[in-house]
């Protein structure tokens, strides 16, 4: 009934199949992306490490506060300037290139945020 002659090769094929991405890239994760940082500003909304890991949550929060509660105040402090909570009108003010900033990591991590379906990236 149980055909071990088929099970073992089957299992091997299965394991090879699901590990395909690893050995296809020879266990190499590819070159680490180097997003280009703005030249003349040193600070961001949050410390760099937090921005790196949590910018999407931050954007979601901003979206909700601005859109749903209608609070559009300039209450984001960067350096000693106050900014609005806005992707297009605050973030992209300093990060003037979506290609050299956002896309470098997003492409590497193969995430496709739908922000840009509606929001406009700065003209490059």
């Amino acid at each position: 009934m149980y055909d071990s002659g088929k099970i073992i090769p089957g299992l091997i094929i299965f394991v090879l199949f699901i590990t395909f991405p690893i050995w296809y890239n020879h266990g190499d994760a590819g070159a680490v992306p180097q997003p280009e940082l703005p030249k003349n500003v040193k600070e961001c909304v949050l410390p760099i490490t937090e921005m790196r890991s949590d910018h999407m949550q931050l954007l979601n929060e901003w979206r909700d506060i601005v859109l749903r509660t209608g609070d559009r105040s300039f209450d984001v402090k960067i350096g000693d300037k106050m900014y609005q909570k806005s992707l297009m009108n605050t973030c992209m003010e300093c990060h003037t290139s979506k290609k050299k900033f956002c896309d470098t990591c997003h492409t590497y991590a193969s995430v496709k945020p739908y922000c840009w379906d509606c929001h406009l990236a700065p003209v490059e």
Partner: protein, 284 residues
């Protein structure tokens, strides 16, 4: 990753609860708060994108207190008759400001404010013979930002909601494109993005401070929430300028200009019988 897992747990949890305990549970869970607050939350929609989990973050999951404002508009049709070119100017300014696409094909049309005949705007006020002034002149129509908006009630995802100032706003991130709100609006003020709206825009010549929309979501006049929030006047009101053809303000503030105008003039609303309490008034 983490976010996904949480989302999954959330679906699993909410569906189970929805099955077991019905809607009250869901409602409380979604607004992540006590029943009293949850009821308040139905009045004005809180920031509740995934509220509950993210309460730690500043300003998140907090209930929005109703400001007591009810923003509204008075449209003075006499002024529009005096300045026949004004209406088209207003339309173009609004559409340019908000990146509303221009599609020649009638099936794809999207509009926020546009001219229509008196009898179309006010079917309940039609008369046997229209006087000349109402016959030739067009009436600007746009979302009424109803005080009891049927579109908000219909929307299954709270993508359409009433904000703290009484603006009936849209959250395009959330809209699933079911178009229930379009069927619910008794005024036909909503448009749907049947195709990618950017195909109908001149992308080199758009307002880069305001987003476009994506296909598959509904849109309409937002009472210029993005401007009003910064203390500015809506674009259309700004364009009318000194003609005072459009007057914007807080209907709940007895001292406001709009209240004064309402007090001094006979005004009508569109289809009052629909019970929606429009916040846009017309002086004929």
């Amino acid at each position: 990753m983490d976010k996904k897992r949480r989302d999954f747990l959330k679906i699993a949890g909410v569906t189970t609860l929805a099955g077991l305990g019905g809607t009250t549970v869901v409602d409380r869970l979604v607004s992540g708060s006590s029943p009293v607050q949850a009821r308040a939350a139905q009045e004005v929609d809180p920031a509740e994108h995934g509220a509950g989990e993210q309460t730690a973050a500043a300003g998140h999951g907090e209930e929005v207190v109703k400001s007591g404002n009810r923003l509204g508009m008075v449209v003075d049709l006499r002024k529009f008759r005096e300045h026949p070119e004004l209406l088209e100017k207003v339309r173009q300014a609004c559409h340019a400001e908000h990146n509303v696409p221009d599609f020649p094909n009638k099936k794809d049309v999207i509009k926020w404010i546009w001219p229509t005949g008196f009898e179309n705007a006010f079917p309940e006020h039609s008369t046997y013979h229209l006087n000349e002034s109402s016959e030739d002149n067009k009436v600007p129509v746009f979302c009424n930002h109803c005080d009891s908006p049927p579109c908000v009630k219909a929307c299954p995802t709270r993508a359409t909601f009433k904000n703290k100032d009484g603006i009936v706003a849209m959250d395009y991130h959330r809209c699933i494109g079911c178009r229930f709100c379009m069927a619910a609006c008794p005024y036909g003020m909503r448009s749907f993005n049947w195709r990618d709206p950017r195909a109908g825009l001149d992308m080199n010549n758009i307002n880069r401070r305001f987003p476009t929309r994506m296909r598959g979501v509904v849109e309409k006049c937002n009472f210029c929430a993005e401007r009003v929030g910064l203390g500015e006047q809506p674009k259309c009101v700004e364009v009318c300028g000194e003609t005072k053809a459009m007057i914007f303000g807080n209907l709940n503030d007895p001292e406001s200009e709009i209240r004064k105008v309402l007090k001094e003039n006979f005004t009508i609303q569109r289809k009052p019988s629909a019970g929606t309490h429009p916040s846009v008034f017309y002086i004929v």
